[in-house]
């Protein structure tokens, strides 16, 4: 009787979906977290405006870029994995 190769089982066939779905869920939760962070940064910006270069806008842009990257990763996970 052939001993099943666990690595092969995990990353082929049905196994790949057992990995793919939790990863997609995690990435989705992370995207929601980033949206909340953008809201928090807007609240911080209203509380105190630090320096004339509007620092909160710069930070928000950084989070938006992260959100775009995460969304790309979400799509990549569906397509590649």
């Amino acid at each position: 009787m052939q001993i099943p190769n666990l690595t092969e089982m995990l990353f082929t066939g049905i196994g790949i979906y057992l990995l793919k779905i939790p990863i997609l869920i995690l990435i989705f939760i992370y995207m929601i977290f980033l949206v909340i962070v953008i809201g928090r940064l807007k609240a911080f910006g209203r509380t105190v405006q630090v320096s004339s270069m509007n620092a909160s806008k710069v930070l928000e842009r950084f989070v938006v870029i992260q959100l775009i990257l995460t969304l790309s990763l979400f799509v990549a996970t569906i397509v590649i994995v």
């Binding site: 690595t7 911080f44 994995v81």
Partner: protein, 228 residues
């Protein structure tokens, strides 16, 4: 009776001691500060006297920000080092797996890419969260009050305000090599309010900031006495 001894030297005039008004020095110090030139605040500024381009919610029209404080930048070093360490783990594991004659664990290429990318996104999120906790952890001193904006994490913050009339005591502590060398410390302000203590932790130049706060308190008391 003949004089045994006479002092031919005329009596010297005793210097007169002028008792300046106790509040005058503080008032002059505050006025000097208020008329000082404004200084630019950049992204990584942790201490600025008369910061330019700064505003906060509920700031009154005639309210001037005298001191802007954050934690000293050196307090960011631990999380920066953590980030660098964790960023090096995937390349290290990759290098080790290449070096071994038989790989310990094999992942399909697509899955490996997704996992590593997600790992780095989480890591950047950790670093960003730490930066935001530092960036929006602000202490502001105006000529009317003190404001402490505490950001414990990216999802929670609280703001405390205290007037100088509520101030009972202001002191600072500077402990250890790093605090002494980089000149930062904890400023503790005891107030009469329900929140007994008001703190500016890891503030740069704590002795100078403590002096300013003391002067502002004395100046405000002086103003009250003058008006009464």
């Amino acid at each position: 009776m003949p004089d045994i001894y006479t002092d031919h030297h005329p009596p010297t005039e005793q210097p007169t001691v002028t008792h300046a008004h106790p509040h005058q020095h503080a008032i002059q110090s505050v006025q000097r500060l208020m008329h000082e030139k404004e200084h630019q605040v950049n992204f990584f500024t942790a201490y600025r006297v008369r910061p330019r381009g700064m505003h906060f919610a509920n700031q009154e029209p005639d309210e001037v920000i005298l001191v802007f404080l954050r934690h000293h930048f050196i307090t960011n070093i631990p999380w920066m080092l953590n980030t660098i360490f964790f960023a090096l783990i995937p390349p290290l594991l990759f290098g080790i797996s290449l070096a071994l004659p038989t790989p310990l664990f094999t992942l399909p290429g697509g899955l490996a890419f997704v996992l590593v990318a997600f790992y780095y996104l989480l890591l950047s999120s950790y670093a960003f969260g730490k930066f935001i906790s530092w960036f929006y952890n602000i202490g502001i001193v105006t000529q009317k009050r003190m404001i402490d904006l505490d950001t414990s994490n990216i999802l929670a913050h609280n703001t405390a305000t205290a007037n100088f009339s509520e101030l009972v005591e202001v002191k600072f502590t500077q402990r250890g090599f790093f605090q002494s060398y980089f000149d930062y410390g904890d400023i503790h302000i005891q107030t009469e309010a329900v929140r007994a203590n008001f703190e500016f932790l890891a503030a740069p130049k704590p002795s100078y900031v403590t002096d300013i706060i003391s002067d502002l308190r004395v100046a405000q008391e002086g103003g009250k006495h003058a008006n009464s």
